[in-house]
Amino acid sequence: MTEAFIYDHVRTPRGRGKPDGSLHTITAVDLAAQTLGAIKSRNGFGAEDVDDIVWGTVMPLGEQGQVLPRMASMMAGYGEYTGAVQVNRFCASGLEACNLAAAQVMSGQAQMTIGGGVEMMSRVMMGSDGGAYMIDPQVATTLHAVPQGISADLLASLYGYSREDVDSYAVASHQRAAHAWTNGYFDNSVIPVVDVNGVTVLERDETVRGNTTVEALAKLKPSFEKLGRDLGFDSVAIQKYPQVEKIVHLHHAGNSSGVVDGSGAVLIGSREAGERLGLKPRARIRSWATLGTDPTIMLIGPSFAAEKALANAGMSASDIDLWELNEAFAAVVLRFMEVLDVPHDRINVNGGAIAMGHPMGATGAMVLGTVLDELERREMGTALTTLCIGGGMGIATIIERV
């Protein structure tokens, strides 16, 4: 089987996903085009050097509808030759896009590909695509569907995490992200977003608060208490987890992933295609895996997906130098560390979505690139990137430096 290598990656800074966010005035197709344009110009592609673009977007409607990367690539100056496909695996769409891009290379059907994604959460609201999961009564009642925040609080209740546990984790995420920015760890990969005149509108992640404290977070009210108690979702969850007497609501805006705008792209190709372009491979994609777990607790997929990806690679957890788990909610990471016995100083070492936000379609590609940068900085070998996914799925990808 052909090997797939990562040659480069870029991402935009993440803007607050609200009308006052700095990226709110940029269209989704423009943001994607700026990302695709940056990776193109850094690597000097010709008109027919990239076979396909696999692109994640979780709300593919309105301006994010149709096959956005097809328009974005041409707007970014790619040739007509380069194809594009849009994928949706909820929060893992960005990493799924990278895996599918790699799969094209590994199967020998494409030579050079791009995996990535875009999500303008300030412009296309989360949940605006409708769908059957929470809305169709047959589906919602059969699957005990609950909003993710209830799942996160169920997870914390089931494994006994306290408010202080989750808030402490969140503070670390902010401190680590701030530290990484201060020390320039992200400088090589984050591209400034500009307006039509080339004036920069955002060059740093907008939601990082390096000075936040557990005391400050303690003042925030749990976000899902009313939903759980008054709308009945706590009961729906407990009916699936009857060993839980009561859902303790711990998660809030400060210890959950932020709603942001952003885009990221990863350049993936075969050794020969890289040589043709004069590019140096930075990492090999060793293996990946996806799977599903119970949709009600929803967020426990990562450890199972990680184990499956490790098995696919013939590796064990001790072979992994750095871990990157999307910080959907603090409890997700706490549980993952517990299950796989991962120390805190080896996971999300430069912060995560609690500090910097989670532009759903793009995050997977962003964190894959972030952990590669950090492997290089620390001169380490292997990393595992994983995300929890709506509907109870999990995904994991293992890379190793070459």
């Binding site: 929470m134 809305i135 009564p137």
Partner: protein, 718 residues
């Protein structure tokens, strides 16, 4: 059946008046008659429009439930139900698309299929009688309105208001029905038909339903608008939170509305037909209909009343003891127009008992449910006293004094010295055998048990206990009284705890057994709710007082001495008693009751009963809780304490909240099949103790492949 009169102005009045029935029920004959009349007159240019009304006091109560029950038989093919649904749909459709305006003149209660007929009219006018009820209550029978009700209501009101009414099965009085949009006008009863004629002759008369107008849009928007999504997500969760996944009807209603409003009207009708058929064939609907409709109605009509004894309505009731029970019984009797003598040892207490009624009546008046004069008249019927002489002309006396044999014996004697030799004396004891109490009576044939439940004004059941010497005449008298106060009776033979108290104790004890075995208390309590019980066993014993449960055990220990061996469950009760955790009233029991609310399981339980490493599957816990009661109920049938499966099921559902979807403990055995039930009980008996050992009768029934109610066994799930 459906009389048609056409007046000089060309208004055709169709009056539904089914022969040989006190009430119109909606069935195929009605639909045929409607289509026939519409066909006969719709094309007549002289006919301006139709009025649909009823010749009975009620407009129409709904479909024939027994017929629906028969249709649910698994032997009836799905297509047969589809065909019947099509007949209903076609008749409704014929009405609303006949080209002439149709107005429903709702002269009386219109529920279910009766109201669905009104929905197919273009305009609805109801008489202003506050006793009239309007609505679609099918959900309470485990069904949904299958005559277009879900589709027309949703299109008329919008998703959210329609779901609120359909899922609760709300019945509304005329004024509220007008506010909710179920009717268009409320008019004085005497003016109803004139109002209907006025509408037909007026400028607003239209012959097209809103949903048949091409410009029509669903009020409030469809399910994938922002508001619609919010409604659906919320309703989906709330239905689960309320039903614990035991009742398919509310979910089917949600789906009818959700799916139906996204497609054209006729496609919506087809969707409704599918879900309706699914429910008609569901074991849950069949169980609910059998126990809470067919058998309950028979009980309400006193099916258990001995034959050949003339009606003996109680004129004047004596009540001994003005505590919670006595006061409650006094209230329901006074409401039924019976004079009440409320006797206690101390006049202040007797007065307090009367004040209990005053409080309830005040609330009713304040809520607008009762006229002040009615409330005053009711209260005036209650005469508090301390004098036994005042009981002299009572034809029924119910004692509700402390559960103490000596006290009960004394008041029996004092009463019998005053009352007529033909008067009946009833004890409201909840556990003490009646035959023993009757030993204090000069006239044991007139002595009977009448076990009311607390709070009496809310709880619908009365358990009649027949002592060894109780006469048929006394049974008839007691039953007549139960009917007067509009409660549902069951009749059981004498035994310690009779039926309900004995069996509900098995539930509590099973909860304690599970706890003692190291099952997580949250799992016990949630499994109980998942099984369909209204409260978990630990919660229940907290409510009913652990000290009371302890005293019952202590009494048995005293009675039987060293021979009495405590079960593991009784050990738990004794331990909680010794810890001073006596239940909710004491502020602590299996639960903690912090001030300001928010009760939660006592964390100390983990030290008293450390949770086992391996927890049982929740299905196993559910089975143990439900089967512990079911197997003991079967035992009571074998012991002839219960003589009729219907009494067992009604008593369990209305007495202690046995899940309605199972139809009661005996219906549950039929549902899972005797053979399978016996096999499970044997397995449980081996694993957990003889309390699960199935009685011989069940083993015999299993061997002979018999069931209690004669329907096919083993068709449902456990």
């Amino acid at each position: 059946m459906l009389d048609c009169q056409i007046d000089d102005n060309g208004i055709a009045t169709l009056t539904l008046d089914m022969p040989d029935r006190s009430m119109n029920v909606i069935n195929k004959a009605v639909f045929d008659a409607i289509v026939q009349q519409i066909d006969a007159h719709a094309a007549n240019p002289d006919v301006k429009g139709f009025i649909v009304t009823s010749g009975k006091p009620a407009f129409a109560a709904g479909a024939d439930v027994s017929e629906l029950d028969r249709l649910g038989d698994p032997d009836v093919p799905v297509e047969r139900i589809y065909e019947l649904s099509d007949i209903a749909a076609a008749a409704h459709r014929r009405m609303e698309t006949c080209g002439k305006p149709v107005v429903a003149a709702i002269n009386g209660t219109a529920l279910g299929g009766g109201y669905e007929l009104c929905l197919a009219a273009h305009h609805r006018i109801v008489a202003d009688d506050p006793g009239i009820q309007i609505g679609l209550p099918e959900v309470s029978l485990g069904l949904l309105p299958g005559g277009g009700g879900t589709q027309r209501l949703a299109r008329m009101l919008g998703i959210k208001p329609a779901l609120d009414l359909l899922i609760d099965g709300t019945r509304l009085a005329p004024a509220a029905a007008l506010a909710a949009g179920l009717v268009d006008e409320v008019e004085p009863a005497g003016d109803l038909l004139a109002a209907a004629r006025r509408w037909l002759s007026g400028a607003d008369a239209r012959a097209v339903q809103p949903w048949d107008d091409p410009a029509w849009r669903l009020p409030g928007g469809g399910p994938f608008t922002a508001a619609g999504m919010q409604t659906m997500v919320g309703a989906n969760a709330l239905v689960q939170a309320r039903t614990w996944h035991n009742y398919p009807a509310p979910v089917a209603i949600l789906s009818c509305v959700f799916e139906g409003v996204q497609v054209p009207f006729d496609a919506g009708i087809e969707i409704e037909r599918r879900y309706f058929t699914q429910l008609v064939r569901s074991v849950e609907a069949r169980n609910i209909i059998r126990s809470t409709f067919v058998n309950k109605r028979a009980a309400d009509k006193l099916v258990r009343r001995p034959e050949g004894i003339e009606k003996m309505p109680t004129r004047k009731l004596g009540i001994l003891g003005a505590g919670l029970m006595g006061s409650g019984i006094g209230y329901v009797a006074a409401r039924a127009g019976i004079d009440v003598v409320l006797l206690d040892t101390d006049l202040a207490r007797a007065e307090k008992g009367k004040a209990y009624s005053a409080r309830i009546l005040d609330k009713q008046v304040a809520r607008g449910n009762m006229q002040a004069e009615d409330a005053d008249a009711t209260l005036a019927r209650i005469a508090p006293t301390t004098a036994y002489e005042d009981l002299a002309d009572c034809d029924l006396v119910i004692e509700a004094v402390t559960e103490d044999r000596a006290i009960k014996a004394r008041v029996t004697g004092l009463t019998e010295a005053q009352i007529d030799a033909g008067a009946v004396f009833a004890s409201n004891t909840s556990t003490l055998p009646i035959t023993g109490l009757a030993e204090a009576s000069e006239r044991p044939e007139n002595f009977i048990g009448m076990h009311f439940f607390s709070p009496v004004e809310k709880m619908p059941l009365v358990e009649i206990i027949v002592g060894d010497r109780t006469s048929d005449r006394s049974i008839a008298k007691a039953l007549d009284f139960v009917q007067q106060v509009r409660k549902t009776p069951i009749v059981v033979n004498d035994s310690r705890g009779f039926y309900t108290s004995r069996v509900v104790a098995k539930y509590i004890h099973e909860g304690c057994h599970l706890l003692a075995e190291g099952v997580e208390p949250a799992l016990i309590e949630n499994a109980a709710r998942l099984a369909g019980m209204p409260v978990g066993p630990l919660n229940l014993v907290d409510e009913t007082k652990i000290d009371l449960a302890y005293h019952i055990i202590d009494q048995s220990r005293t009675d039987m001495g060293d021979a009495y061996k405590l079960s593991k469950a009784e050990d738990v009760i004794v331990r909680m008693y010794d810890l001073g955790r006596w239940g909710k009233l004491s502020g602590k029991g299996f639960y903690d009751y912090p001030e300001g609310g928010g009760k939660h399981l006592w964390p100390g339980l983990a030290e008293e009963y450390p949770p086992a490493e391996n927890q049982p599957d929740v299905e196993e816990v559910k089975m143990r809780l439900l089967y512990s009661m079911a197997v003991d109920t079967a035992r009571l049938l074998e012991e002839n304490v219960l003589t009729d499966p219907a009494d067992a099921d009604i008593g369990a559902i209305y007495g202690f909240g046995y899940p309605r979807h199972t139809g009661g403990p005996i219906s549950l055995i039929d549902m899972v099949g005797c053979e399978s039930f016996v096999a499970d009980c044997r397995r449980l008996a081996d694993a957990h103790g003889e309390r699960f050992a199935p009685p011989e009768m069940l083993a015999r029934m299993a061997a002979e492949n018999r069931s209690f109610y004669g329907s096919q066994p083993g068709q449902g799930k456990g």
